[in-house]
Amino acid sequence: MIDRQAQLLGMEAQKAQSISGTLKRFGAHFRPYWLPLLIVAAAIIFSTWMQVRIPYLIGQAIDCYLTPYASRVALTGNTAGVTLPPAAAEFFSQMAGDTAAGSNCTYTTIDPTASYQETLTGFTQLMLVMVFLYVGSSVLTGITFYAMSWAGFRVLRDLRDDVFRHIHRLSLGYFSKHEAGDVMSRLTNDMDTIQQMIGFGVVQVVQGVLLIVWIVYVMFRDNVPFALISLVTLPLMVIFTKWFSDQARKAFRQARKEIGSVNADLQEGISGVREVQAFSREAENIEQFRANNAANRDANIKAQAYTSALAPTLEALSYVSLAIVACVGGIAILRGGSLMGSAVSLGLIFSFIQYTQRFNMPVQQIALLWTNIQSAIAGGERIFGLLDEVPELTDKPDAAAMPPIEGDVRFEGVWAEYNPGEPVLKGVDIHARPGETIAIVGPTGAGKTTIINLLPRFWDVTDGRILIDGRDIRDVTRDSLRQQIGIVLQDAFLFSDTVLNNIRYAKPDATDEEVIAAAKLARAHDFIERLGEGYQTVLGERGGGLSQGQRQLIAIARVALSDPRILILDEATSSVDTRTEREIQKAFAVLLHGRTSFVIAHRLSTIRNAHQVLVVNHGEIIERGTHRELLAARGFYYDLYMSQFRRQLDAGESDEELAEEVDAFFAPAD
């Protein structure tokens, strides 16, 4: 109980910029589920009515049946059938008239001469109504909860679906401004906040507000002065709750920071334990941890102090209001049953006691949930913001499918920029004939990656155009274009799925045999066979469990399987062990054969075998030609070569050997 409070208070509070706008958007998402919402609304109103009705009926039970009968019995010893002295009978009928006038009993009026049986029947009827109300309100609570969650979770599902589809439409421009990791953690956090509120949270707050308002109204309707006096504690409840929960939130913010450093300490101390022991740092580390651990403890104790104070304060206040209702009501009755000119009966006191005892829960809940609902709205705002990001790249309305590609690629005066006014490519011209390998070299940030991003239209040119087989690639559908382009990225991205499914990712209908053939071609077959369950081995998140080199081989197999007409390679800079490196080189050589290929090259062998080498710097192609021509020119490339590539000369085998192997591989097919 305390923990739920702590949990709610401990959540990060955020404020939305436009609450009404965001609520409207939520509203639109709720529209398909109007029927459950209608049911929820009806159920909330009915169950609140019932909750207000019950105390009123208790009052009636006392005023209409119990008190009249009990006092008559007490005074006269009259159980059914004893005849009253005439004077007494006269008095009681008179009193009955008075009480009946003052009280309006719903089910039967008071008859002072009513027998035990008659009174009991009336009372029982009243009680049956009450039981009905109890059962009814329980059922309605269940229905409310179910219907609201039913609709809420569906809205959440729809939102997730929309976001996911939208992410696929977003292009590199968006992700050049937003880290994928940040987008992910924001999405999960926001969805989480919304999920916690969208179901019962909202219902509790709405119902709580409704209940408070309704009870206040009924109390005022029944007796204005009495209501005023009975409600003095309500504002106090609100003020205390607000103050305590504000303080608690502040303290929890601090505590969150502290737990962050405790976790960082733990993470570091555990994952770096080998270094810690190697440098004999155990004692210092443990002391340092003690400081953070203690700060965390103290921050938590402080935050919990405010949280712990909330419930007892409200409870004490509700007892105080009980005392006030009982005392003021009692004294009013003693003074002739009137309070500042309004009638007070015993039953009314009982009703009011019940009413005031019902404030406690909703006030607490509203206070706890209110800020979280705000956070959920803020989360929603961010999610709608993401959905509002206009995809920069869309197919033209009249885009045709790309016919089978021959492989003639032309860049004509291509300019590109991710941020307006900051061109990353400045008038690039390239002409690759079918089957040619184009090696792109240059320093980091020169624009190499942008060149290869433009081909499959991850990004579009801002000026100039790119033609494949004479067609502007913006005139064809992206899907048909990409289906004929194969890409091996530097950081070979694998999915947490089986090896088999990872290889057939771009060609889901490939048979197992085709997959294995591709793996053999990529020289990945051998190590895959050695994995625990061969091709059925499920890879850990992001290909965990495999070495960098093995991941690359699988990525190569993936592209080999899809047999693309145009190939894009981003060679990895990080070196893998020499044996795997050689495997990768051979696999690349096989893959490049006979396809138009663009390679961001880090390997000397790739460059030497390339038909054209493009040297890119500051978004421009500053030199072009073959490896030999460029070396002879003694320009930028020459310097680059001297500082970066020369040592690869003798590593592994010579290019001639490699070329022979590749030829041998293709020999039977030719």
Partner: protein, 638 residues
């Protein structure tokens, strides 16, 4: 078992073999955990005291309310009698068994009595509020302190557990022990126990009062209690696995989302959007289905529990009402019953909640003590001595090593001597045992047979600290720690001066890039060294080892993921580092091998060849093969 009075801190003794059924062990662990509570006797007793007062005050309130109401009703009666026509006044009073004078007196004092009773309620309310706050607050103090102790013990233990333990346990798992498991145990120890005590007092107290007030009416509500308790427990039992499943499905959803964000290019390039969307839709639908399933259960069970409580109220009202008509119950008692009824159902709910908490806490306690009790394979001998001045001669004498008793040996019968100042190059394929050799020197593991000596002392006879302080290590995967670059370089010698740190950084070719940062040596390295590149991290690690000025140096010199000019600088730094120290190098570069005083070629845990380069090239085919296939050419920059 430890003596009861002994605080269970830092229990070093290993628990006996795997005898005893598991649930029994859990109880034992829980009982052991409960002893942590008694490390704070003052807070505990204060919390229990506050709990008692708060609960008693709570129990008193309905009683007080009854008194107010009874005063009112009897006053109403008195007033009625006095207001009756004179001819029936005495008759009525006679019926009530009082005379008119008493009635008049009572009526006159009624107002005072009511106000007094009201004031007493207020006093009790304040007492209740204050002590109930004290109870919760103190229980928080208690539980947070216990969590602090457990976490501190756990961290200290983990820091000192040897490599073999960490080989078997992943960081993530240990993290969860120190966070989630401790939190679960904290909730139970700090709050669960006290709440359970409170619930039981409240429950028993209420039942006693109710029975004393009206035996028959109490019998009416009694059957509802087991129904409520059972539904709470059923609820707790059902909810747990359902939530677990929902969590699993949600994490699937998040994995797909994560992969599609991180691998967006692959998805788009493979034109797999539609497929991924269908995949995702299936995942979110399945998560939705589970949520709805949970909702359905809540939607039935929650209202049902409320209904049971409410029907209790209705039953009291109905049967109580009949008793009022029969004059065996007063209106005040009637109201009191209805208030006490709340006190019956509330603790039942709490107990149900605590029972489910207890099962989790027991499992968590079990896992926590498993770590605290783990046997540390490498420890100082009781009579271990400080290692004095050394020259740096290391000798392996018939060393055999296996990770577990009975498992395949990783090293077999290794014998060699490294003379002071020599460089020993270790060569061999993956799994040949070269890493194991360098792990044995700083006693990250202890040998299974044979012995290793340093200047003639068996490593196991000297203290770990004095041994490791003389060894500098640069591992292949460099781990840096939070804090500044300076802190990281001074990692093994926090007392190093600024000049020493800078000198070490210069020698490691790290000074220049460090000075390029705006904050220089104060630059924070970020989580796990994220602000530094791979090559920079490696040079910081070299500076860190240099600053130790070790007699013995252990290097894994593979310089992966750096560009060539960086590699060249690292290479130069390493050469400087090795000069004049006994060095063990897992060699990747030809120059290291060429310069080594001894080359040990390992295969399947044995030394298959040894000597210097020229000798080995001639008579070891394995060496020649490794030389050609594994070693990379050194960087030569003009």
């Amino acid at each position: 078992m430890q003596a009861a009075g002994n605080p269970p801190r830092a229990g070093r003794r290993g628990r006996g073999g795997p005898n005893g059924a598991r649930p029994k062990m859990s109880n034992q662990a829980l009982r052991r955990a409960i002893r942590y509570v008694w490390q704070y006797p003052k807070v505990t007793w204060a919390a229990v005291g506050a709990l008692l007062i708060a609960t008693l005050a709570q129990l008193a309130v309905p009683q007080l309310v009854q008194e107010v109401i009874d005063t009112i009703t009897s006053s109403v009666l008195n007033e009625m009698i006095l207001g009756l026509p004179a001819n029936i006044q005495t008759f009525a009073a006679g019926q009530l068994g009082l005379d008119l004078a008493t009635a008049q007196n009572e009526l006159n004092g009624a107002e005072r009595a009511i106000i007094m009773a009201g004031l007493i309620i207020v006093v009790f309310a304040i007492a209740r509020g204050f002590f109930s706050f004290a109870q919760t607050y103190l229980s928080q103090v208690l539980s947070q302190n216990i969590a602090f102790d457990l976490r501190q013990d756990l961290y200290a233990k983990i820091q000192r557990l040897s490599f073999s333990y960490h080989d078997r346990n992943r960081t993530g798992q240990l993290m969860i022990r120190a966070t989630d498991d401790i939190e679960k145990l904290r909730l139970f120890l700090g709050q669960g126990l006290l709440l359970a005590l409170q619930s039981i007092i409240l429950l028993v107290g209420t039942l006693i009062i109710l029975f004393l007030t009206n035996f028959r009416l109490t019998l009416v509500v009694l059957p509802l209690l087991p129904i409520a308790l059972v539904s709470f427990m059923v609820f707790g039992g059902l909810a747990q696995p359902l939530f677990g499943e929902a969590q699993r499905r949600l994490s699937r959803v998040n994995t797909i989302l994560q992969e599609n964000l991180a691998g967006l290019k692959v998805v788009q390039a493979s034109v797999a959007e539609k497929r991924e969307q269908a995949h995702f839709k299936k995942a979110i639908d399945s998560e939705l289905e589970q949520r709805i399933k949970i909702t359905r259960m809540f939607a039935i069970l929650f209202p049902f529990i409320f209904l049971v409580a409410n029907l209790g109220q209705a039953a009291v009202m109905y049967f109580g009402g009949r008793q009022i008509m029969n004059e065996t119950l007063t209106l005040g008692e009637w109201q009191k019953f209805s208030l006490y009824l709340v006190y019956l159902f509330m603790p039942l709910g709490q107990l149900g909640f605590i029972i489910s908490l207890m099962a989790q806490a027991a499992a968590s306690a079990d896992r926590i003590f498993e770590i605290l009790d783990a046997k540390n394979d490498v420890e100082n001998k009781p009579d271990a001595v400080e290692l004095g001045e050394i020259t740096g001669r290391i000798a392996f004498e018939n060393v055999t090593f296996r990770y577990f008793e009975g498992s395949e040996p990783v090293l077999q019968d290794i014998t060699f001597t490294a003379e002071p100042g020599q460089t020993i190059a270790l060569l061999g394929g993956t799994g040949s045992g070269k890493t194991t050799i360098i792990n044995l020197i700083p006693r990250f593991y202890d040998v299974s047979a044979g012995r290793i000596t340093i200047d003639g002392h068996d490593l196991r006879d000297v203290t770990l600290e004095s041994l490791r302080q003389r060894i500098g290590i640069v591992l292949q995967e460099t781990n840096l720690f939070g804090g500044s670059i300076r802190d990281n370089i001074a990692f093994g010698r926090p007392d190093a001066t600024e000049a020493e740190i800078i000198a070490a950084a210069q020698a490691a070719a790290a000074h220049d890039f460090i000075m390029e940062f705006p904050e220089g040596y104060d630059t924070p390295v970020g989580e796990r060294g994220s602000t530094l590149s791979g090559g920079q991290k490696q040079r910081v690690a070299i500076a860190r080892a240099l600053l130790m000025d070790p007699h013995i140096l252990i290097l894994d010199d593979s310089t992966s993921s750096v560009d060539l000019s960086t590699e060249y600088q690292i290479q130069k730094a390493l050469d400087k580092l090795m000069h004049g120290r006994t060095s063990f190098v897992i060699a990747q570069r030809i120059s290291t091998v060429l310069n080594a005083d001894q080359i040990l070629v390992l295969d399947k845990g044995r030394i298959v060849a040894r000597g210097v380069h020229e000798e080995l090239m001639e008579d070891s085919p394995i060496y020649a093969e490794i030389y050609h296939s594994q070693l990379s050419e050194d960087v030569e920059l003009a």
